[in-house]
């Protein structure tokens, strides 16, 4: 038997297997139980759920459409929780590509929850200038955001914006950053350290966030699609992330299987070479 073959499976077969393991569970779900990670999703939910009704939370769209599968379910779940608890939302974004994209998700979920634009939530859109813009907003939110929302309407026409004059802990009860890269959470823990910061991010960003969670600079971390699925479970509103978890399970198993096959082939061929 040629052990080299075990190490050199045609990549087209691998691509086909990846496609199958991702597609089949979507149509034939296994329904595996999703347990909540208490130190991550559970902690996030417990703290975020205690934000009193009438408070305002800032959502930062620091991601691009590429991270749709992981982040959009989190956006929808957190929006639903806020609307259920009577928490208002101001939505901005450090990524110019994230702002129109979060608008799509919010428009859908606002229709489901009957949230009123201007009263329950406002999208201020992308404001160029990076941290300089944030620093201006800290002193004068309206000046930093040029007093216009995502649609170009004046803040004067939006009742919710009358409560937001400065970007500080008096105006905002929390910041939730939906993050897939840089600029990201460092903007907030550097310039608005008094506002509790929550991070909902793609899975690859999670390991780098944990020191900040331990130090208290982050109040909660929502880890990738699994975090989104767990959150959907906690708010009792299963959505896209719950449906996709089986596909992710199958894909991880395939990777592990391929690693085993490749390494068995490698070890056996090495042993034969020595003999």
């Amino acid at each position: 038997m040629s052990w080299e073959k075990w190490q050199n499976i045609d990549r087209r077969i691998i691509y086909l297997l990846v496609t199958l393991v991702l597609i089949i569970p979507i149509f034939k779900p296994m329904g595996l139980p999703i347990t909540v990670q208490k130190d991550l999703t559970g902690l996030f939910y417990d703290r975020f759920d205690k934000i009193p009704a009438g408070s305002i939370v800032y959502f930062d769209a620091a991601y691009s459409p590429a991270q749709d599968a992981e982040i959009t379910p989190m956006v929808k779940a957190l929006f639903k929780q806020c609307m259920k608890n009577g928490v208002k939302i101001v939505v901005g974004g450090q990524f110019e590509t994230g702002v129109p994209f979060i608008n799509i998700a919010l428009t859908q979920v606002a229709a489901e929850t009957k949230a009123k634009y201007g009263e329950d939530y406002v999208e201020i859109g992308y404001k160029p200038g990076g941290v300089a813009t944030v620093r201006v907003m800290i002193n004068d939110f309206w000046e930093g955001a040029k007093s216009t929302d995502f649609y170009g309407d004046s803040f004067n026409t939006l009742p919710l914006m009358q409560k937001v004059k400065k970007f500080d802990e008096k105006a905002f009860a929390a910041i939730v950053i939906f993050e897939s890269g840089s600029p990201g959470m460092e903007t907030w823990y550097t310039y608005t350290p008094k506002i509790p910061l929550y991070k909902a991010s793609v899975m690859v960003e999670v390991s780098g966030s944990l020191p900040y969670l331990k130090s208290g600079q982050l109040k909660g971390v929502l880890p990738g699609m699994r975090g989104a699925a767990e959150y959907e479970k906690l708010i009792k509103a299963p959505g896209a992330a719950t449906k996709l978890m089986d596909a992710q399970s199958a894909a991880h198993l395939l990777v592990i299987l391929l690693l085993v096959v490749g390494n068995v082939g490698y070890l056996m061929s090495t042993r034969r070479g020595k003999a």
Binding site: Q7, I9, R11, I14, Y15, V18, L22, L32, P33, I34, T35, Q37, S64, P65, A66, Q67, D68, T97, P100, F101, N103, I104, G125, P128, G129, G130, A132, T133, R135, V136, N139, G144, F150, Y151, G152, M203, V206, S207, G208, L210, P211, K214, G224, R226, M245, D246, Q248, S249, A250, A251, H252, L253, V255, I256, L258, L259, V261, G262, N263, Y266
Partner: protein, 205 residues
């Protein structure tokens, strides 16, 4: 003077921002906020400069009939047309948003999704237990991958405990070490730029 002037500007602006973000008394002067306002304005101007630079680059490709110049022509058409559409319709416009949702969103998501295929293929081809360190890395990767999805805990609930320990002890220690090293390196670079020792941004070596 072409080099001295940018260095002097860097030192003055850097000094003001350092002082205003470090000392409360300096912050009260409002100098830092004025610099922030200027930076905010320049960020908007930078978009136009970016468009101008891209236009010049691709226009030259077309003029000299360089390889694939047709794509340059298409790029200029798309950039200018979308810019004009955005100026006319703004984010309220159905066409402006439909183009974004129908092209940018799908293309971006597709390119990112394709990466999954390459990751699986390259992990299979390169992840070999050639040494003790590689073996530890492989085992950690397998446990973490299993623990990250529901099927892992369905196979053995203990995967979750191992993942928690890996994430909260060795991972946090290593991440903090990397972060401290990175920030120290960043400070050193900032000091070099601030004092004029670093001149690569001015085109010098």
């Amino acid at each position: 003077m072409r080099k001295q002037l940018p260095i002097i500007i860097t030192m003055v602006v850097g000094g003001v921002l350092f002082l205003t973000s470090t000392f409360f008394a300096a912050e009260k002067t409002g100098l830092g906020t004025n610099i922030d306002r200027f930076q905010q304005l320049m960020a908007n101007v930078a978009f136009l400069i970016g468009m101008g630079t891209l236009f010049r680059l691709h226009y030259n490709n077309i003029r000299r009939r360089k390889e694939n110049w047709v794509f340059s022509a298409w790029f200029i058409f798309a950039m200018i047309a979308y810019f004009i559409l955005g100026m006319v319709e703004t984010n309220k416009g159905k066409n402006f948003m439909a183009l974004y949702n129908g092209i940018i969103t799908n293309t971006n998501s597709t390119i990112f999704a394709i990466v999954a295929y390459y990751i699986v293929s390259s992990a299979y081809r390169t992840f070999r237990v050639r040494s003790g360190e590689a073996t530890v890395l492989l085992l950690t990767a397998v446990v973490t991958m299993l623990a990250a999805v529901p099927i892992g805990e369905a196979i053995w609930p203990g995967f979750a405990s191992i993942r928690d320990w890996v994430q909260s002890v060795p991972n946090v220690a290593a991440t903090r070490a990397v972060a401290i090293g990175t920030f120290l390196g960043g400070y050193a670079t900032l000091l070099r730029v601030f004092t004029g020792m670093e001149r690569q941004q001015l085109g010098s070596r």
